[in-house]
């Protein structure tokens, strides 16, 4: 078990964790952010729901890519996981409420 955990302290393990954060958590986060973006466009900017959903979908891959870039630019792994999870949870809640 400790050997397994120690792997994630090694260089390769750190890279693997970061890839995991970028690809999977980043995917969830970008979807949550985009849904909030769509709902804000609909509620606050008064766009038709279909238009808002389309605009948000068009920017989805941009948001995902920027999150991946951000994941690889933050120094601390702990900070990265905490912040990205927090953003995801907050956006998911907002999407639920809006």
């Amino acid at each position: 078990m400790t050997r397994f955990l120690n792997y994630f302290r090694s260089y390769n393990g750190q890279v693997l964790l970061r890839l995991f954060a970028a690809i999977l958590l980043g995917y969830v986060a970008s979807n949550a952010i985009s849904v909030v973006f769509a709902k804000l466009l609909h509620v606050a900017a008064g766009l038709a729901l279909s238009e808002a959903a389309l605009y948000a979908s068009l920017s989805g891959f941009l948001i995902y890519s920027l999150i991946i870039l951000w994941v690889f630019s933050v120094r601390s792994q702990k900070k990265l996981w905490l912040q990205l999870s927090a953003v995801t949870v907050v956006c998911a809640c907002l999407a639920w409420l809006l």
Binding site: N31, A32, S34, V35, A38, K39, H42, L47, L49, S50, E51, A52, A53, L54, Y55, A56, S57, L58, G60, F61, L62, Y64, S65, L66, I68, L69, F72, S73, A95
Partner: protein
């Protein structure tokens, strides 16, 4: 960022190179199609009504019970011939089909069974030999990697201007880096556009949850809204039969709307022969931002029904898609598209070569990974063009009566590609590059020669005015032969020249 740039680039570079090369050739898909069907007669000039009634007569005979007919009149670069296709519902056991129609007699146009430029162009987004859907899922992942490589590349080279104006041809690996920089920066707007618009195609595949989430998981109303926006509402057949309107009358009504006869890109007839039959008309694009005109007619009464709803978001999406496909591009702009695509190919290739060179300088003796890198680079960068020559040669050389001939053309492409990898493996390191370039020159020369022997069109047989496509393609091939011979000669001289360390030793009179 440089780390991410290196790895996002390196892991995917060979597949990205494949996508760039086949995608760039996709801007010549119709031209390649014509080259690969040399016995095809050029289309006649006739008006829309004649085209439509000929197509409908053909379809009523061939597939009267199909759910959808598509008709593309012969009026544009994309449709050099009158083309039809027919589609059955998904659960039907009948198979869909398509045909080119001979306007002289209304029969199916005879030509050799060929994969054509369309197959080559489709490879850039759905690869080959993969179950349907999987190729596209993969290529969209590569596209995302490409987009990230572009963004990180911009961050890594913040001194854009300085990099752009520095080129050190005599400096070995620095020259590769400079070339990588010059080609990427010169074509950066194109690369960003083509990559991001490529991702736009993948929204429904990889990002469906945004729309679904925005609709609070009400997929049904999402789909209904989107169909309305696209102007393709769901239409159920009534089950009662009714005669289709006269196509000359429909053509007149379309011309009245579009103001011109030759603007129709295609017409879709849904449920032909049914009382609820509809005809959807799409116009050609004259520019990327021009909104695509679409009309809906009742195909029994010829009455114009609702036109497409206005949607800014859909227009933004369509602009991306139109820019990617470049269907609106005339000859000049098409050439620019091809040049930008070639710059993209060079960008990917020089990046891959630079990485291999950098590793080589760091370690003196070539390791096993080094050899593998060299083989992958050589076999992909020079091997793929050789394979495409093999594809075109197969079109001329395979027996006309061969079963599954079109499939065999593609097999020939991949078999000759495999052969170039074997060759790269045989001559790994020094001799590989110039031997591959020489083989490329020989294969490029073989294409016009075999064409000369097997077909009575092209240089020395038809004139530039009467048959521009075949004559120009011969010139292009001969030009490329010259280019790859010169490159091969310089590479050979370089590989035979003593390395700089040896040279220094010679100058100082020491032995190494």
């Amino acid at each position: 960022m440089t780390w991410l740039h290196t790895w996002a680039g390196l892991v995917f570079c060979w597949l990205l190179y494949f996508m760039f090369v086949t995608g760039t050739l996709g801007y010549l898909d119709t031209e390649l199609d014509q080259w690969m069907k040399p016995e095809m007669k050029p289309a006649q000039e006739q008006n829309l009504g004649q085209d439509l009634s000929q197509a409908v007569a053909f379809l009523q005979n061939k597939a009267p019970d199909a759910e959808r007919w598509f008709i593309s009149p012969a009026n544009h670069r994309d449709n050099p011939q009158l083309r039809v296709s027919w589609h059955y519902p998904r659960d039907s056991d009948k198979s869909n089909g398509r045909a080119l129609i001979d306007q002289h007699n209304g029969e199916e146009l005879e030509h050799r069974d060929t994969a054509g430029g369309q197959t080559l162009y489709r490879m850039h987004y759905r690869l080959h030999y993969l179950p349907s859907g999987w190729g596209f899922r993969l290529t969209s992942i590569f596209t995302l990697a490409m987009f990230i490589a572009l963004l990180t590349g911009v961050v890594a080279h913040r001194k854009l201007f300085k990099d752009f104006f520095s080129f050190r041809p005599q400096k070995g690996k620095a020259a590769w880096l400079d070339m990588h920089n010059v080609t990427s920066i010169a074509s950066l707007p194109f690369q960003l556009m083509i990559t991001y618009s490529g991702l736009i195609f993948a929204i429904t595949t990889w990002m469906p949850f945004i729309g679904v989430g925005a609709y609070d998981f009400d997929v049904k109303s999402l789909r209904k809204d989107l169909n309305e926006l696209r102007g393709t509402p769901r239409i159920e057949a009534s089950g009662e039969s009714a005669e289709l309107i006269d196509m000359h009358q429909l053509a007149n009504n379309i011309t009245a709307q579009f103001g011109s006869d030759n603007k129709v890109r295609f017409i879709e007839i849904r449920h032909p022969g049914d009382r609820h039959a509809k005809a959807f008309v799409r116009s050609h694009l004259s520019g990327p931002i021009q909104e695509q005109q679409s009309l809906q007619f009742n195909a029994v009464t010829a009455q114009l029904e609702n036109q497409q709803k206005e949607s800014n978001a859909l227009e933004v999406r369509n602009t991306f898609i139109n820019l990617h496909e470049g269907l609106f591009a005339g000859p000049g702009l098409r050439l620019l598209y091809i040049l930008s695509g070639l710059l993209g190919c060079i960008m990917v290739a020089t990046g891959a070569i630079y990485y291999a060179q950098k590793r080589r300088r760091e370690k003196q003796a070539p390791s096993r990974q080094q050899t593998l890198l060299d083989i992958l680079n050589g076999g992909t960068i020079v091997g793929l063009p050789i394979a495409i020559c093999g594809f075109m040669l197969a079109n001329r050389l395979l027996p006309i009566t061969l079963e599954d001939r079109a499939d065999w053309e593609v097999h020939c492409l991949f078999l000759s590609w495999l052969a170039t990898f074997a060759m790269a493996g045989m001559y790994a390191h020094k001799a590989m590059w110039h031997k591959l370039c020489l083989s490329l020159a020989i294969c490029l020369l073989a294409v016009p020669l075999v064409n000369y022997v097997s077909v009575e069109r092209g240089l020395g047989q038809t004139s530039l005015e009467s048959d521009p496509l075949f004559v120009i393609s011969d010139w292009v091939f001969l030009g490329l032969v010259g280019l790859s011979t010169v490159v091969s000669y310089f590479l050979k001289r370089k590989s035979l020249a003593p390395s700089s360390a040896n040279q220094r030793a010679l100058q100082t009179g020491q032995t190494v």
